[in-house]
Amino acid sequence: MRRARLALAVLATVPCWGCLLTNDFFAFEDTAPVVAVTEPDGFPGSGFGALLAAYESESLGGLLAVGGNPGTDVFVFQTLTASGDLTPDAEFSRACGGREGCDGLGVGGSVTWLAAFASGTDCLAMGAPATDSVIAFCIGGNQIAQVPGVGSVGRSVASAVGGSEVFVGAPDSGEKVYVWADRAPDLVGVGLGLGLEGSIGEAVAVSPDGALVAAGGDGQVAIFSWDGSAAALVDTIAGEPGFGRSLAWGDTQDDAGVELHAGGDGRVTILSGDGAELGLLECGESPCTSFGDALATGDLDGDGRDDLAVGWPARRNFAGAVAVFSHGEISGPVLQHSTPTADQRLGRSVAIVPVGDRGELVAGAAGEIYYFFCSLLPGDTAAVGERCRP
């Protein structure tokens, strides 16, 4: 009898332990600092998370465009409402699905934001290289521009912050980069006439002020200036194979101008606006394959200066990671999934979404995107049970 009573007492007390744990595990899903957003229902095709483009709208708040492989679609999430509420997984709209004139174009090759275009505002420009098209969806009107027969128009798109022009990469066009301005409904090819071997246009990037444009691919990067109507070559920089497949402008260095960050060859080269090499950012381990395949700049630590996020999707059996370099630093934390798994491909795309006076890192992965609300930068660590932001 004594044994039975003891057993009953133990059995009566221990279930509470499990109940508490069960509830606590549920709490993790609400409080974990890295928020995962999985592929939404109805996302066509595959590759959700292959493209990321962040934008801060004066009227809508923070917006994040998430695309997939070419021929899919782009979904827009309202990450931050106009009133300042953080809503990382709130679907705002589906860019193309069901819209007249969009289906069948095969959007998803590239994406960028424009403050205004033609008669519309808060525009999302998407490249559709399969149809040599670029589509601009704006609040107030949509436009489509095509350069039939080129074959890769729209592989990459870029615009300046608050700009109203879209630079369109077309690596199969020879040395051309197309410009789509709201005053000219058709794409205008900008013949550089530089006699480059290979092609450029795998990636394009526009400096924040719109004065410099970089186009890269096939182991080289061309920097040219843009005055709103004509381009002038500033410099070409050659590198290892793959160099120039990713480009990002940002003021990450303590100098007078903005810097161009070029990746794609397993490292990130920091170039000045005139093409001078300012430094290299390396992965710090081996192999460094895919280190720098995606680049984004923005203020991650709230110091008012740009920081650099470097995607590294092939790291450790393609589990992937994102390296964060604070302003001026040549090393920084490597963010990865708390349970890295093979082929997760974290860092295949990166963006820095605006959250108040600073930004938060978003990284694309295979079928998911992740908000890193705590980038482990100074002042950006999580307390237990709390998110870093807002």
Binding site: M1, A4, A7, L8, V10, L11, A12, V14, P15, W17, G18, C19, L21, T22, D24, F25, F26, F28, E29, T31, A32, P33, V34, V35, A36, T38, L335, Q336, H337, S338, T339, T341, E368, Y370, F372, F373, C374, S375, L376, D380, T381, A382, A383, V384, G385, C388
Partner: protein
Amino acid sequence: MRLGIVIVTVFAAGSAFAQPEDPVEALQEARRHMEEGQSLYVQGRYVESAQEFLRAHELQHYSAFLYNAAVAYERFGHLGLAATNFERYLRDDPGAPDRAEVEARIARLRAAAAAQGGTPPPTPTPGQTAAPAPLPEAAPEDIKSMLTVQTNPAGCRIVVRSVAGQVVAQGTSPLLSTVDAGEYTLTATHPDFRPATTDPMPVQPGKVYVVRVEMAQGAFHAFLRVVSNVPGASVFVDERDVGAVGRTPYTNPYPVGRHEIWVEKPGYRTVESEVDLALGEDLTLRVDLQRVDHGYLDLRANLRGSRVFIAERLVGKAPIDHQLPAGRHVVRVESEGYKPFEGRVAIERGQRTRIDVRMRPAPSRVPAYVSTGVAAALLGAGIYLGLEANALYEDLESEQQRGTLATDDPRIMDGFVYSLAADIGFLAATVVGGFAIYYFLRDPLPDSSAEAQRPVDLSIAPVGGPGLAGLSLGGTL
């Protein structure tokens, strides 16, 4: 001087007329007729008196009956019948000491009868008292009495003397003699025994006396009486190993001198004492038997071979008859597959307490053990999963502190599943444990029980001293 033990018995009166076959009964019946005849004679109912004497003679051919019948007829006036019965008297007892007187009396009666012309007096109706001729008043002393002398052993020489020293009868025992009323002394002699002589013994008319003489062999005797507070105790005198000579209250003659006496009774302490008997002393030895300090437990069980423990010590297997100190004892009876019995029993001093234990089967505990095992396994699984969940929780908490925990981290679901499984395990363990408790407690049969009988005095107890062994039967139930 008394040389022997003499017991004189006067038989009580009786009224049966049937002829008994038993000699003793016949003697008693004859004696009753003689007593009746003597009574009728005193009342003057002579004919009826004579008839009673003759009935007595038919039962026991003692000459005294004929003599008494002749006297009764003579008193009535049946002179011829009187003479005839006197003649029968002399024939039965040719050596009668009063033969000359009786012969003269017969002659006188015959002559008187001839003078009467053979006319008998009228026959009175029953109950009528008639006296046709003036006769002297009836005197009981005219009636003779019977004296029977028996000896132990038989074959003693008996001499009966009057107080005047005249020998009135003699012969070999058992002796039958007809005597007149008076006082007599008896002398019994035997070559192997000391002669015995009685004190003067009064003999009333018309009575039958039986005198028994115990002959003493070489020593003078005294009476020894042994009484005890508990009757029925065995009495051993002088030689204990030859067995008990009797039970209390015990009376027997013993030679004078010192005697060693043991008084025993099962359940009581043996009392040993010595007495010194004086010649002719009638000594009463009073023994106060005290119970022994122990008793016996007579335990019987419906399941033979059940192990019996007393005060946690194995004392044997049922049935047992176990000696225990008087007092309360804890008795436990066990047997495989049966419910143990445990209880207290009071052992009384010098008594046997019987307990009938009824062992009842114990319910099978296999389901209980199986349930317990399953519950333990579930509990163990629950604890293991709980620990795993706990470890995952700590990992996740650490990850969260580092700021790297993702909301879709599979460990969150793993931990949730583990903790849920742990809860299920605990719950199932509780339920199954409940079943285990139920099966442990489930008992459709009553417990083993016992019924104690009232303690009884020991009926069988070892007796004897050093080198002796045996059993003495006695006691009460």
